[in-house]
């Protein structure tokens, strides 16, 4: 490497370089809109009533976490996995099976602080094994394999009574209560989901610039070249599935605490595809996308019914609205709402350096 040192070296003003590296690593901290959104989210319980807190915002955050795990795989790894909701549902089932529920014949009655780590560990293992299967394929075959895993799990829960209690599922799942707080009460639960969502969001953001995340993006862009640089691409892909599975599992635990029950309907193929829609509508190039997509999805699911009825249409057609919205966004912006937003901003301020938009 002596040659390399011999070439002329013009150092940057180092303080400036540090500052730029910092901005590049945490773009949110430079963005006043992000601070505003964070503030609103923190003081939300002062603004919103229990219905909005839980049915809209907590639900959005939970779906956002699950879709975030797909965003991580698809955006950084180029792997579209349809089994992320299945992993979340598996974690939810494990919370119900190991913890306390109304189905005493099934639940083992472990305290939440034992049942939850167990559920997270098993769901991560489940996702990793599924990933190890899926990485043998690419593109559309990855979608097919993960969809097959999702569908198989759905039918299995329907037919297995010993653990999953068949189509009735497991009801009245106990939620954590300690330090004199019922953590499933509206405000406490909202903060729990907000905290977990924030941790997941920043973890994904952070890892995307760490060696593991960079290598994953390298595998996405050119896996053959990654092998020619000394990386084992499939090992990286499987590790990405494990990381994403853990995030999805966190979402699944929150989801079962939210609804206090879990049944095959929670892990149906339709629900798996909803997660894909959420991620794609929001945009899979940045971790904020899935949360935006989840908010749009939850708002439509909750209010489209009333709006449709107001216009004299059948309220059950709300999925039609989601589908049309999905179509429109995919048609006009391949990277979702985020892509639309970035293009709009770029047009609004033409001085901005082009290409700075794409994260990573």
């Amino acid at each position: 490497m002596s040659l390399l040192q011999s070439t002329q070296f013009r150092p940057d003003p180092s303080a400036n370089a540090t500052r730029r590296a910092w901005i590049r690593a945490w773009p949110e901290l430079q963005n006043p809109a992000a601070w505003l959104v964070a503030l609103i989210l923190v003081i939300m319980p002062l603004i919103a009533n229990g219905f909005f807190l839980i049915e809209i915002f907590a639900t959005t955050l939970i779906l956002g976490i699950i879709a975030l795990s797909l965003m991580f795989l698809a955006g950084y790894g180029g792997m579209v996995s349809l089994m992320q909701l299945t992993i979340a549902g598996f974690a939810g089932y494990m919370v119900a099976v190991f913890g306390i529920s109304g189905n005493a014949n099934i639940s083992l009655g472990w305290p939440w602080w034992l049942a939850t780590p167990m559920a997270l560990a098993l769901a991560t293992l489940f996702g990793t094994l599924g990933g190890a299967l899926a990485v043998r394929t690419e593109g559309i075959y990855t979608i097919m394999i993960t969809l097959a895993i999702g569908a198989a799990f759905y039918y299995f829960t329907n037919q297995n009574w010993a653990i999953f209690n068949g189509h009735t599922g497991i009801n009245t799942v106990a939620t954590p209560q300690f330090w004199g707080v019922d953590w499933r009460s509206d405000i406490a639960f909202y903060y729990v989901t907000l905290g977990v969502a924030a941790i997941c969001y920043f973890a994904v953001q952070y890892v995307s610039r760490a060696p593991f995340g960079l290598a994953l993006q390298g595998v996405r862009d050119n896996s053959r070249r990654m092998a020619a640089l000394g990386f084992n691409p499939n090992a990286h892909r499987i590790a990405a599935y494990a990381f994403a599975a853990f995030i999805a599992a966190l979402g699944g635990v929150l989801q079962v605490w939210n609804y206090r029950q879990i049944s095959p309907g929670s892990v149906s193929v339709g629900a798996c595809i909803d997660v894909l829609i959420i991620a794609v509508v929001g945009g899979i190039t940045r971790p904020i996308g899935p949360f935006i997509g989840a908010l749009i999805f939850v708002l439509l699911r909750t209010f489209a019914l009333d709006v449709l009825i107001k216009f004299g249409l059948d309220g059950n057609r709300f999925r039609l609205l989601i589908g049309l919205g999905f179509l429109a966004i995919v048609f006009w912006s391949s990277d979702g709402v985020i892509g639309l937003w970035e293009r709009w901003r770029r047009n609004a301020s033409p001085t901005q350096r082009p290409g700075g938009g794409r994260h990573g």
């Binding site: 390399l4 060696p211 593991f212 993006q217 390298g218 000394g230 990573g360």
Partner: protein, 260 residues
């Protein structure tokens, strides 16, 4: 067969790279037939031949991108024939690609950083490199060495062709290479960029050997000490640059064949 030296010479420990009877079939087509090559450590060699002579296939067999159908490949004495590409790279083998194989979605700096990380520990690290990370310094140095410091924060997709070729070389120089395969590094470069390339190649530390595939004789014969001529997937001739240049058969096959 008793002395260590004898045994070592049998397994080819003295050679940086030793191919024995390497054959690669694509269906019924033999892209390489019975190729036997020995390259000393630090040796610089050109592989010449017309299109379809099997030069790039040879590289792909050596790096394991496509493993050979038969034959053995030894790298500094170790049989690497069955190794996946990344195991070969971790042992000090490097290559560049004829058509730039970079990571267009990442910045120049991230590309080089990945190359440095790929041949060191912590490939799965979840922790971002700090300001004093040794690999970050190695990355900076490499980026400077290939004259890309000015564009290090740009995405590779935005780079000019010549810059992408330079980055391609930087990726192969990461870590501690022992032997490098350059696949037409001068393709599409301007005369100035070619001079820079020759400068980089000739100033590589003496212990780093390489094989270079290059159609441009001015580049190829200036940076090597030996030449292997390939034709139809076979070794056609081996020799010193001037021998090959003046060989009538070679002239007919290659130099006179209208190839540049």
């Amino acid at each position: 067969m008793d002395s260590v030296a004898q045994r070592l010479s049998v397994v080819g420990a003295g050679a940086a790279l030793e191919l024995r009877g390497v054959t690669r079939l694509f269906g019924a087509l033999a892209a390489l037939t019975d190729v036997t090559i020995t390259v000393r450590p630090g040796e610089r060699r050109a592989v010449l031949g017309s299109n379809g002579a099997g030069k790039t296939t040879l590289f792909n067999c050596i790096t394991g991108d496509f493993p050979p159908s038969s034959g053995t490949i030894r790298f500094f004495g170790e049989d690497i024939t069955q190794f996946p590409p990344y195991e070969r790279i971790r042992r000090g083998l490097r290559r560049t690609y004829q058509i730039s194989a970079l990571f267009p979605g990442l910045t120049v700096q991230d590309n080089v950083y990945l190359a440095c990380r790929g041949v060191s520990r912590g490939r799965f690290s979840l922790l971002r490199p700090g300001q004093n990370d040794a690999l970050m310094h190695a990355t900076e140095t490499l980026v400077q060495a290939v004259h890309l410091a000015g564009v290090k924060d740009q995405r590779v997709a935005e780079l000019a062709h010549g810059q992408q070729r330079q980055l391609e070389i930087a990726l192969a120089l990461a870590g501690a290479p022992r032997f490098i395969l350059f696949d037409e590094p001068a393709a599409g470069l301007s005369p100035t960029e070619r001079r820079e390339l020759i400068e980089i190649l000739t100033s590589l530390p003496a212990h780093i050997g390489y094989i270079i595939i290059e159609h441009d004789m001015d580049v190829a014969l200036r940076v090597v000490e030996s030449v292997t001529m390939m034709h139809n997937g076979r070794i056609f001739k081996e020799g010193l640059p001037r021998e090959i240049e003046s060989d009538p058969e070679v002239q007919e096959l290659y130099l006179g064949g209208g190839h540049e």
